[in-house]
C-alpha cells in the first residue's frame, strides 16, 4: 500500500504525532501543566477511539514497511494504558519535577507512537529504528530527574548497556541481511532456506546476536543485569512504564522475528528459550528474595516475569502465543498498578524501603489493599489476572511437554510468593512507626483504580481478552 492510502489506517499514529507537536507548542506557550497532562490522555484516548473498521484485518502499509494486524491493534490499545496510566499518575505527583512535566508528556506521547510502530512492523529497518528510538527516549526519561544521583546513574547504565546491546543487535541484523539479502522478515524463510544447511551456523549466529538486542529489551537473563538498577533508579512512573512497555513490545518483536523469520530454526531457539526462561525466572526470583527495597523487589520480579512470558514464547504453540500476550496484558495492569502504588508511597514517604511500608494498612487501607491485590496477582493467586496469565504459561509448557520447565516455573512461583509477601507482611503485619495517613492524590488513585479494575476483571472474566488475543493470532497467522 502506498503512503497516501496507508494514512487511512494510520489515524491513531497521526493523532499522536499531532499531539506531540501541539502539546510541545502549548507547553512553550505556557499552558498549565495539569492541562497538558489531560490533553495527553485525551490524545491517547482519541488515538484508540480512532481505531475503526474490522480490527482484525491484515493490511500492509507504507510499502510493506508497516503491518497492521491484530497484534498491532492490541498494542495500540495497550499503549493507551501503558502510557496513559503513568501520565495520569504523574499529573499530581512530585516525582517528576513540575517544570519538566510538559516535556515529560511530550516524550511519553512520542514513545507511545514509537511503541505502536515498533509493534506494527516486520521490517528490520523499522524494527531497528523504532527499537533504538524507544531506547534513546527511555534513557532520557530515566535520567530526566537530573539532580537525582540514582536517576542519572540509572540513565547512564541503561545507556551504556543499551548501546552495546544495540550494537550487537545491529551487527546481527547486518549478518541476517547478508544471508538473506532482504530486510523484510516475511521474505526471509525462503531466502534462508535456499542457503542450505551449511549456512545454518551463520543464521543461528545472526539470530543469537539479535536475541541479545531483544533480550536486553525484555530483560532476559543473561542480558537482564541493567534492569534492577535502572528500574530502581528511574523515577517511579517511568520505572513502571519501563517494566511494561518496552518489555511488551520487545516480546512482540521477538515473537515476530522468531516466528516469521526463523520458523525453520524452531528447535534451536525453542530449546534456547527454555533454558533462558528457566534462567531468567530463577535469577529474577532468587535475587529478589534478599532485597529490602520495594522498587528493587518489583524490578527483580519483573525480570522473573519475563522468564514466565518466555515460557510461552519457547513453546510458541497456539497456547504459547496466547500465553505470551495474555501474560503481557495482565502483567501490564498488575505491574504498572504496583509501581503506581509504590510511586504514591514514595511521594509521601520519600523512601522505597520496606520500612516505609510498615503499617501502611493502617495509614491507608486502600493503598495497602490495592498493592496487596497487585502482588497477589503477580504471584498468580486466583481469581486475579495474574492467575489467568500464569495458567496460560503453565498450560503452554505442559501442553507441549516441557515438564521440567513447568516444574522449575512452579518452584519459582513459590519462591516469588515469599518476597511478594515480604511486602505484604510489612504493610499488614509489622507495626509502623508513623500513624499519619498517606496524602491522597486523586489522579494517581484513579490510575491505580484503573489498573485494579483491569487486574480483577481480567481475572474473573478473562474471556474477552482471550478472544481478542485469539483473533489477533488468527489475523497474524493469515500473513
Amino acid at each position: 500500500m502506498d503512503p497516501i492510502a496507508s494514512l487511512a489506517y494510520f489515524k491513531p499514529e497521526l493523532i499522536l504525532i499531532a499531539a506531540v507537536f501541539v502539546i510541545l507548542t502549548l507547553d512553550l506557550a505556557g499552558l498549565s501543566k495539569p492541562w497538558l497532562g489531560y490533553l495527553s490522555i485525551a490524545a491517547l484516548i482519541g488515538s484508540v477511539a480512532s481505531l475503526s473498521g474490522n480490527l482484525f484485518d491484515t493490511h500492509w502499509l507504507f510499502f510493506n514497511l508497516m503491518i497492521y494486524d491484530g497484534f498491532s491493534v492490541l498494542i495500540q490499545i495497550l499503549v493507551l494504558f501503558m502510557v496513559g496510566l503513568p501520565i495520569l499518575a504523574t499529573i499530581g505527583s512530585t516525582l517528576i519535577h513540575e517544570r519538566q512535566k510538559g516535556e515529560f508528556y511530550v516524550m511519553m506521547l512520542a514513545l507511545a507512537l514509537l511503541l505502536i510502530i515498533m509493534g506494527s512492523t516486520t521490517h528490520l529497518l523499522m524494527i531497528f529504528l523504532a527499537t533504538e528510538a524507544v531506547s534513546l527516549s527511555s534513557y532520557l526519561l530515566v535520567g530526566s530527574q537530573k539532580f537525582n544521583k540514582k536517576a542519572s546513574e540509572a540513565s547512564l547504565k541503561y545507556l551504556l548497556y543499551g548501546a552495546v546491546a544495540t550494537a550487537v543487535l545491529v551487527f546481527g541484523m547486518s549478518l541476517l541481511y547478508g544471508l538473506s539479502g532482504t530486510l523484510a522478515l516475511t521474505e526471509m524463510p525462503i531466502r534462508l532456506a535456499k542457503l542450505g544447511p551449511q549456512a545454518q551456523g551463520a543464521v543461528l549466529t545472526a539470530m543469537v546476536l539479535m536475541l541479545v538486542g531483544f533480550g536486553f529489551k525484555i530483560s532476559m537473563a543473561p542480558f537482564h543485569m541493567w534492569a534492577p538498577d535502572v528500574y530502581e533508579g528511574a523515577p517511579t512512573p517511568v520505572a513502571g512504564f519501563l517494566t511494561v512497555a518496552p518489555k511488551a513490545l520487545g516480546f512482540l518483536v521477538l515473537f515476530r522475528v522468531l516466528t516469521i523469520a526463523f520458523p525453520v530454526q524452531y528447535h534451536e531457539w525453542s530449546a534456547l528459550l527454555v533454558i533462558l526462561s528457566m534462567l531468567t525466572m530463577t535469577i529474577g526470583n532468587v535475587f529478589a528474595v534478599s532485597q529490602n527495597n520495594v522498587k528493587r523487589i518489583l524490578a527483580y520480579s519483573s525480570v522473573a516475569q519475563a522468564g514466565y512470558i518466555l515460557m510461552g514464547l519457547a513453546a510458541s504453540s497456539e497456547v504459547g502465543v496466547y500465553a505470551v500476550f495474555i501474560y503481557l496484558i495482565t502483567y501490564l495492569f498488575t505491574n504498572l498498578g504496583a509501581f503506581l502504588v509504590v510511586g504514591i508511597v514514595e511521594q509521601s514517604e520519600g523512601s522505597n524501603l520496606l520500612e516505609a511500608y510498615q503499617g501502611l494498612s493502617k495509614r491507608n487501607p486502600f493503598l495497602a489493599m490495592t498493592l496487596t491485590i497487585f502482588l497477589l496477582s503477580l504471584a498468580g493467586i486466583p481469581p486475579l489476572a495474574g492467575f489467568i496469565a500464569k495458567w496460560f504459561v503453565f498450560a503452554s509448557a505442559i501442553h507441549i511437554g516441557f515438564i521440567s520447565l513447568a516444574v522449575v516455573a512452579a518452584v519459582n512461583s513459590a519462591i516469588a510468593g515469599f518476597y511478594y509477601f515480604k511486602i505484604v507482611k510489612a504493610m499488614y503485619l509489622s507495626p509502623g512507626d508513623k500513624e499519619s495517613p498517606i496524602r491522597k492524590n486523586h489522579l494517581a488513585f484513579t490510575a491505580v483504580l484503573i489498573a485494579l479494575a483491569g487486574t480483577i476483571l481480567i481475572g474473573i472474566l478473562p474471556s474477552p481478552v482471550i478472544v481478542f488475543v485469539q483473533h489477533a493470532f488468527m489475523s497474524f497467522r493469515t500473513l
Binding site: 504471584a379 512461583s413 513459590a414 503485619l429 478473562p462
Partner: protein, 486 residues
C-alpha cells in the same frame, strides 16, 4: 432450577464481606452482627441442602453449570454429592461457631471479619466446585485470607507461621496446578469437568505422574508426614477461631482432594500409590502421636494430634475399600468437629490464663467445672472413645484397612494407644491434681463459649451413638467411588 442454592452458599459470604467493608470501622458491633448473620444464614442454607439431598443418589445433585471461560472450556460448575455434603455442613457449622468465637477479637475488627467471610467463600467453593479450574481458584482463594488471619491476629511468631503456611501450601498447589493442566491436555475431549474426566482412561504411567503431582498439593494441605511442619506453627500462632477453621476445615480440603479428584480421575494412580500412602499414614499416625506426647504447649499438642488423626483419614483412603473410605470421610467430619472443639477449649483457657503451658496448670477441674466436663468429653472423643464420633470413624478405617494392609493397620493401632496417652496426660495436667493457687480465680465458661461448644458436642455424640445419621449421606457416593476404583 429455581433457586441456585449452591451459588448462594458460596457467594453469600462474599456479599457479607462487601457489606462489612462498607460498614464504618468504628461500628464494630454491626460488623460482628453482619458476619454472624451471614454465617448463620449459611448454616441454614447448608441445612436446606441437607434436606434437599436425595439419599439414594450416589451422583452429583443440585448441580449448577454455566459456561465461564468458553475459550478454555472452563465452567462455573457447582454440585454436591455424598462426599462434599458432610464437608459443606461441617464448614458451615464451624464457620458459624468460629464466627461467634471471634467476638473476642479486639483489634482491626473490620478487616478481620471481612477476611473471615472471604475465607468462608473459599472453603465452601472448594468443596462445591466440580470444575478443576474453579476448584483451583477457590483452593487458592482460601490461602490469602488465611495468611492475613494468622499473620495479623496471631501469636508472637505469627509472621513466621503465616508465611510458612502460605509458602508451603502455595508450593504444593502449584504442583497441583501442573497436574490439573496435564489432566486437561491429556483428556479427550479436553475438559476440566471433574465428572466428565472420570470417563477418561488415562494411561497408567501418566496417571502415576499426575497422581504424584496432585498428591504433593493435597499432602501438604492435609498435612501428610513429612510435609506437616507448617501445621504446628500455624496452629499455635493462629487466633483461636482461625485454628478452629484451620484444623476443622482447611485440613479436610487436602483429603477431600483425594476423594474428589485423585481417586475418581486417576484410579490407576491411586492403586499404584495407595501402599505408599498407607505407609505415610502409619508414620504420620505414630509420629504425630509421639510428638504430641512430648508437647508442653496445649495448642501444639492439639496440632500434632491433628497430624495423627489426619493420618487415619489417609489410611482409610489407602485402603480403597468402601468401609475404609467411608471411615475416612467420617473421620474428616469427626476430626473437624472434635479438633475444632479442642481448639475452642484451648482458646478459652488461654483467654483466662494467658498461657498455654500445660505444666503451669493443674487442678482446674475443681475450679472450672463446666470447662472440665467439656474438656473431658472432647478429649474422650479425640482419643476415640466409643459412643463419640471419633471412635466410629477410626474403627471403620482400621477395620476397612486391616484386610488390605494388616501390618500397617496393626501399627496404626498404636496411634489409638498414643491418643489415649497424650489426651489423658493433657487432661491430667490441666484438670487434675492440686489447684495452683494462681488459677483459683479463673471463671468458668461463659454462655457464649458454651454456645460455641455445645453443637459440636451434640454432633459428636449423635454420630458416635448412631453413625447412620451421617453415613447414610456418604455411603452411596463412596460406593460409587469404590466402583470407579475397581
Amino acid at each position: 432450577m429455581n433457586f441456585p442454592i449452591l451459588t448462594w452458599l458460596v457467594f453469600l459470604p462474599l456479599l457479607g464481606m462487601l457489606a462489612v467493608m462498607l460498614t464504618p470501622k468504628q461500628n464494630e458491633k454491626l460488623i460482628k452482627q453482619i458476619a454472624t448473620v451471614v454465617s448463620a444464614l449459611l448454616f441454614l442454607l447448608s441445612l436446606k441442602v441437607l434436606m434437599a439431598f436425595n439419599l439414594h443418589d450416589g451422583g452429583i445433585q443440585l448441580a449448577e453449570k454455566v459456561m465461564w471461560i468458553p475459550q478454555l472450556n472452563v465452567h462455573y460448575y457447582l454440585g454436591i454429592d455424598g462426599i462434599s455434603l458432610p464437608m459443606v455442613v461441617l464448614t458451615a457449622l464451624l464457620s458459624l461457631l468460629a464466627c461467634v468465637a471471634s467476638y473476642g477479637i479486639k483489634d482491626r475488627v473490620k478487616e478481620y471479619f471481612a477476611l473471615y467471610l472471604l475465607l468462608e467463600t473459599g472453603m465452601l467453593g472448594t468443596f462445591l466446585a466440580l470444575d478443576l479450574f474453579l476448584f483451583y481458584v477457590f483452593w487458592e482463594v482460601v490461602l490469602v485470607p488465611m495468611y492475613f488471619l494468622i499473620g495479623i491476629w496471631g501469636g508472637p511468631r505469627k509472621e513466621y507461621a503465616a508465611i510458612k503456611f502460605f509458602l508451603y501450601t502455595l508450593a504444593g498447589s502449584l504442583f497441583m496446578l501442573l497436574g490439573i493442566l496435564a489432566i486437561y491436555f491429556t483428556s479427550t475431549p479436553q475438559t476440566f469437568d471433574m465428572i466428565a474426566l472420570r470417563q477418561n482412561n488415562f494411561a497408567a504411567g501418566f496417571q502415576h505422574i499426575v497422581f504424584l503431582a496432585l498428591f504433593l498439593g493435597f499432602a501438604i494441605k492435609v498435612p501428610i508426614w513429612p510435609f506437616h511442619t507448617w501445621l504446628p506453627d500455624a496452629h499455635v500462632e493462629a487466633p483461636t477461631p482461625i485454628s478452629v477453621i484451620l484444623a476443622g476445615v482447611l485440613l479436610k480440603m487436602g483429603t477431600y482432594g483425594f476423594f474428589r479428584i485423585s481417586y475418581p480421575i486417576l484410579p490407576e494412580g491411586a492403586h499404584w500409590f495407595a501402599p505408599w500412602m498407607g505407609i505415610l499414614a502409619a508414620i504420620g499416625i505414630i509420629y504425630g502421636g509421639f510428638v504430641a506426647l512430648a508437647q508442653t504447649d496445649f495448642k501444639k499438642l492439639v496440632a500434632y494430634s491433628s497430624v495423627s488423626h489426619m493420618g487415619f483419614v489417609l489410611l482409610g483412603l489407602a485402603s480403597c475399600s468402601a468401609m475404609g473410605m467411608n471411615g475416612a470421610l467420617l473421620q474428616m467430619f469427626s476430626h473437624g468437629v472434635l479438633t475444632g472443639a479442642l481448639f475452642l477449649l484451648v482458646g478459652a483457657l488461654y483467654d483466662r490464663a494467658h498461657t498455654r503451658d500445660l505444666s503451669a496448670f493443674g487442678g482446674l477441674g475443681a475450679v472450672m467445672k463446666v470447662y472440665a466436663g467439656i474438656l473431658i468429653f472432647v478429649s474422650m472423643g479425640s482419643l476415640g472413645l466409643p459412643g463419640l464420633s471419633g471412635f466410629v470413624a477410626e474403627f471403620m478405617i482400621l477395620l476397612g484397612t486391616f484386610k488390605i494392609y494388616p501390618v500397617i493397620t496393626g501399627l496404626s493401632c498404636i496411634g489409638i494407644l498414643l491418643a489415649a496417652c497424650y489426651m489423658l496426660y493433657t487432661v491430667q495436667r490441666v484438670l487434675l491434681g492440686k489447684v495452683n493457687p494462681k488459677w483459683e480465680k479463673l471463671t468458668d465458661m461463659t454462655g457464649r463459649e458454651i454456645f460455641t461448644l455445645a453443637p459440636l458436642m451434640i454432633v459428636t455424640l449423635a454420630i458416635g451413638v448412631y453413625p447412620i445419621l451421617i453415613l447414610k449421606f456418604m455411603t452411596p457416593a463412596i460406593t460409587a467411588l469404590v466402583g470407579l476404583l475397581s
